[in-house]
């Protein structure tokens, strides 16, 4: 270690548990951070400051003004620039001893395995389930430890997966939630400091893995609640069958459609049904179509799965409706269905509602 490094890393060198040997381990480590967003910014800042030798940054996205509320690596003048390269520029100024690989691509099953093999530790700082499952499976297949973090409003989760004989993300959540069920920060907001706390915890776990000190969060899920500053740690067991299945299906990894697995790119992506797609839902047993118009309104909507329930009758059937998988609300012009949807979501916490945009009138315009 040269004298410039010895001065820079002095507080590590004099610390029990790190020292010269520990700092050399950090400098020899290669870490891949996926997502340079809310979680990625603190992860990258601390790993860079700590002197991790090589850091890969994967992000296809550009800096947006609304990112600056929490993505503290970026400056106002970075708006419009690619996040991976903007981040590596700032990080390089923080520590010239670190080598950065700015990867301006979307992580996919085509590039994931090759990328993961070039690093020792993978850190998940992404913002969607599709990529999270992809990262987990690629980490299982390439035998790379995965430092996981995710956030929801005021709460965060942190864990270390695929470490030694520990569990994977799929051991915790085998199946993704249905599309639209769990919203992300861009839809429901997030308190800016939360990804700072969770990302910093992820950086800490990665550094512990590199140094081989302390007890990694393997087999444990930490849940942090920023509103009452409380932490809960839950024990997570390894599911051998789940992990074996991912490894056995390694050959299918390249063609597996993660977006589809997470229910994306299907007909219903948002809670607004496009009139063009509506005919596919008529007579489809997976959906219940509820016509909220009064009984005298025309044209009548005909289909095996259509139920006529004007608002007063609908209120009497709430308990049944709450347990139906997917309900599409339909009215004449789309105004009432929107109001009723909002009412049912607020008052009865219903989470299975969709609406036909523009109502029956929009269907008429199609023909």
């Amino acid at each position: 270690m040269n004298s410039e490094a010895k001065i820079r890393y002095n507080r590590h060198l004099i610390l029990d548990g790190v020292g010269l040997a520990g700092q050399e381990r950090l400098m020899a480590a290669r870490v891949l951070v996926i997502g340079a967003g809310g979680l990625g910014c603190p992860i990258l800042s601390y790993l860079t400051a700590a002197g991790v030798g090589r850091i890969g940054i994967v992000d296809f996205d550009e800096v947006d003004k609304s990112n600056l509320q929490r993505q503290v690596l970026f400056r106002t003048e970075d708006i419009g620039k690619n996040k991976a390269s903007a981040a590596s520029k700032h990080l390089q100024a923080l520590n010239p001893l670190v080598t950065f690989d700015a990867i301006e691509e979307r992580l996919s099953n085509q590039n994931a395995l090759d990328l993961f093999e070039q690093y020792d530790i993978i850190i998940d700082g992404t913002d969607n389930f599709s990529t999270r499952y992809l990262i987990n499976d690629a980490a299982v297949i390439t035998f790379r430890p995965l430092v996981y973090g995710s956030i929801y409003k005021f709460q965060g989760q942190v864990s270390v997966f695929n470490y030694k004989q520990g569990p994977s993300y799929r051991c915790l959540f085998p199946e993704p939630p249905k599309p639209g069920q769990i919203k992300n920060c861009s839809e429901i907001g997030v308190i800016g400091v939360l990804p700072g706390i969770i990302g910093t915890q992820q950086a800490n776990e990665a550094i512990k893995l590199i140094l081989g000190i302390g007890e990694p969060l393997s087999g444990k899920l930490l849940i942090y609640d920023a509103l009452n500053a409380s932490s809960t740690v839950l024990k997570v067991d390894r599911n051998e069958a789940t992990i074996k299945k991912v490894i056995d299906q390694k050959a299918d990894f390249l063609t597996f459609d993660y977006d589809r697995f997470c229910g994306m790119n299907t007909k219903i992506e948002s809670d607004q049904i496009d009139p063009q797609d509506f005919s596919d839902l008529l007579n489809d047993g997976d959906h219940l179509i509820v016509d909220v118009r009064e009984l005298w309104e025309v044209p009548e909507l005909i289909g095996d799965n259509v139920l006529q329930l004007p608002i007063d009758e609908l209120k009497a059937k709430i308990e049944t409706l709450q347990t139906v998988k997917k309900i599409v609300l339909v009215c004449q012009s789309g105004v009432r269905s929107k109001q009723i949807k909002e009412f049912l979501e607020t008052t009865y916490k219903m989470n299975n509602l969709f609406e036909l945009a523009g109502g029956i009138n929009a269907l008429k315009d199609l023909t």
């Binding site: 913002d127 995710s150 956030i151 929801y152 709460q155 993704p176 939630p177 919203k183 997030v190 709450q322």
Partner: protein, 79 residues
Amino acid sequence: MKVTVRYFGKIQEVTDLSEEHWDIAESLTIDAFRAYLIEKYPALKNETYQLAVNQELLDLNKTILAMAEIAVLPPFSGG
């Protein structure tokens, strides 16, 4: 018997609280508890979540004992 039920993330929005105390039948299985939960909050039927008993996730055959703490945990996706 008395148990404590804790809700996290999106589940808190369905139940409108973060924690509650229930008085339920002795030695309930996880599956029976799940049925109880849906009876009380029908909207949970459409939610994805895992249950942890006394800070331990995933053991479906487990029986819930008095004074247990049950956590209802949904996945988070934000970053």
